[in-house]
């Protein structure tokens, strides 16, 4: 973002032998950066007001057919990952690179010419460099980072996607305060690689566990239940399902039991709706639905051990337990974001508080 007061004494782009072409001058100009920043800010407004990542039907319901079509066509349903937003950010980087490169000789000359060689000369230049590094390192992180999730109850072992690692959830603890609010979620984990090497530790909120280049985050939790399926009184299957999941008899997949929601301590509001009085399993009930060939046969609340009968089949939910969802992230360039942020902050500080001509100017005004 080149400009007369922008880090160095004015040097007019385009003068002399190395006169850049018009488009190059425009690409490095402050006017261009203003246009980009304005459009990016407008896109951010749209991205924060319009729900992101919803299905098309949701936009039709919210905004009507015409607006929904416009939203989808303009990619306003995924502003921050769409091609034109990426292009705007790339153009901003080009603008920052060109203006930084073109200003470098002038800043260097001014710095050499100044008797004390104050770092204040470099404030604005360092700020722009920091901003550029920040955008590039963040963008690079999007392409180089990797994310996997595993979820399960204590004692279960899951493969970590295609990483070759496996995660055993040794324990999962939800510590509650006296007033039953959650103090912390803590998962004890053991991560093993294909060679049999393993590392154990705990992951809690704000305290990820690092192993084999991955950071393991305690992301969320929910309730799971075992379901025994009987046919004419004979057990044919046992399954462990989490809230939101379903199970079915293997020989009759069209008969489905859906585990919708779990109330650890069921209570009823005055309006008849259900809620959980505490997070403790003092009066546990599961909200379920039974489907046959896609049609609802019935739904209701069942305490553990209650039999849900459908002709010759019956489902018994038992032993509800908490499961944890662990997110594993591998971000090899994460450190670069930190360095860039430091450069940006240093540049701003120098610009505002060390910069010699700005200091002189403001002191004169004062």
């Amino acid at each position: 973002m080149t400009g007369p007061m922008d880090g160095a004494p004015d040097h007019k782009a385009g003068k002399g032998k190395n006169r850049p072409q018009g488009w190059l001058r425009f690409l490095k100009s402050m006017q261009f950066s203003f246009v980009l920043l304005f459009i990016i800010a407008a896109a951010c407004v749209a991205g924060s007001v319009i729900p992101q990542g919803s299905p098309e039907a949701a936009y039709r319901q919210l905004y009507g057919d015409t607006w929904a079509k416009i939203i989808i066509e303009l990619n306003l349903d995924h502003v921050f990952t769409c091609w034109w937003f990426v292009l705007l950010t790339a153009l901003l980087c080009v603008n920052l690179i060109l203006c930084s490169v073109s200003r470098f000789p002038a800043v260097l000359k001014a710095w050499k010419a100044s008797g004390k060689k104050s770092i204040g000369m470099w404030g604005s230049w360092i700020t722009h460099l920091g901003m550029l590094l920040l955008i590039i390192s963040f963008a690079a992180g999007q392409y180089t980072s990797r994310e996997e999730t595993v979820y399960g109850i204590a004692g279960s072992t899951q493969p970590l996607g295609s990483t070759g690692l496996s995660v055993t959830i040794d324990s999962f603890d939800v510590s509650l305060r006296e007033d039953n609010t959650v103090e912390q979620y803590t998962a004890g984990l053991t991560v093993s690689d294909a060679s049999g090497n393993s590392k154990s530790g705990t992951a809690s909120v704000n305290h990820p566990f690092d192993a084999f280049g991955y950071s393991f985050y305690q992301d969320s939790m929910g309730w799971a239940t075992y379901v025994d399926i009987y046919k004419s009184g004979v057990q044919v299957k046992t399954d462990l399902i989490c809230a939101g999941e379903y199970t079915f008899p293997n020989e009759l997949p069209s008969l489905v039991l859906m585990f919708n929601k779990f109330y650890p301590d069921l209570a009823r509001n005055e309006d008849g709706s259900y809620y959980s009085k505490t997070p403790l399993p003092d009066n546990p009930h599961a909200l379920y639905s039974v489907y046959y060939d896609g049609s609802v046969l019935g739904m209701g609340l069942a305490a553990p051990g209650t039999s849900i009968d459908c002709n010759e089949y019956s489902f018994v939910m038992r032993d509800p337990c908490e499961y944890t969802l662990i997110v594993a992230k591998h971000d090899p360039l994460g450190w670069l974001v930190g360095v860039s942020a430091f450069v940006l902050l240093a540049g701003l500080f120098i610009s505002f508080y060390v910069r010699p001509w700005e200091k002189k100017r403001t002191q004169n005004a004062e």
């Binding site: 305290h207 610009s351 403001t362």
Partner: protein, 274 residues
Amino acid sequence: MQNNTLGNIESIGFMALLILYFAGSVLYFIYAGAKKEKAARAGYLLVFAGFIVHTLCIIARGVNAGRLPLTNQFEFASAFAWGIAICFLVFVKKFRFDALGMVVAPLIFLVAGYAFMQNREINSLMPALQSGWLGFHVCTAIIAYGGFGVAFGVALFFLLKGKLKGSLSERIPDEKTLDNIIYRAVSLGFLFLTLCMITGAIWAKRAWGSYWNWDPKETWSLITWIIYAIFLHLRLRGAVSGRKAAVLAVVGFVCVIFTYVGVNLLLPGLHSYA
């Protein structure tokens, strides 16, 4: 276990600070209208006294809650008013611009009044908020918002200067000085807003595994940052008159208010507790 005595001290203190900020605002209006220098000095002292009481209230709440009192709508609004107050007191002293109290003292009163209308119950911290980064992140936001609040007040004077007549007009510094004060306040706010966004990003990385999630609060902080970045470039470049820069300082503060109040009310996200 919460201490009722400390709770009562905080409640009474909060009422007292509201009265002090309000009385300070009234005295600044008297100063502007009746040309009484003593009224400005008294106004400054009352806002200063309100600030001291406010500080004690925040300390009392922190001791009572056993944590930094910066985690819900009431606590942050209270800290927001405190941040504007400290920036106001420093800027008035530094630039000897008493008339600034006419705009900023009522602003402090309004933000503190907004805090007073919120639920003041002390709640336990949810796990995501139990981090050392909370203090850095919110304190930097307070200073940033305080700087922008002062810039907003001065920008209003800049925009109204030509329309004001009589004694009040004489009490407002010339446009060059006003422009300089706006710049100093915005540069303070901008530096701390950047720090706030960076500390928030580092915290988000620790809590959720990614620096940036395009949460509405994050997005609106970025929008605010962009507006002030444009302000700083325009001003440094000398491309616009001080008037346009002042308009941007006002627009920027509207974004600050929306980021704080509007986003919480209209655009829930990861920051829904704040």
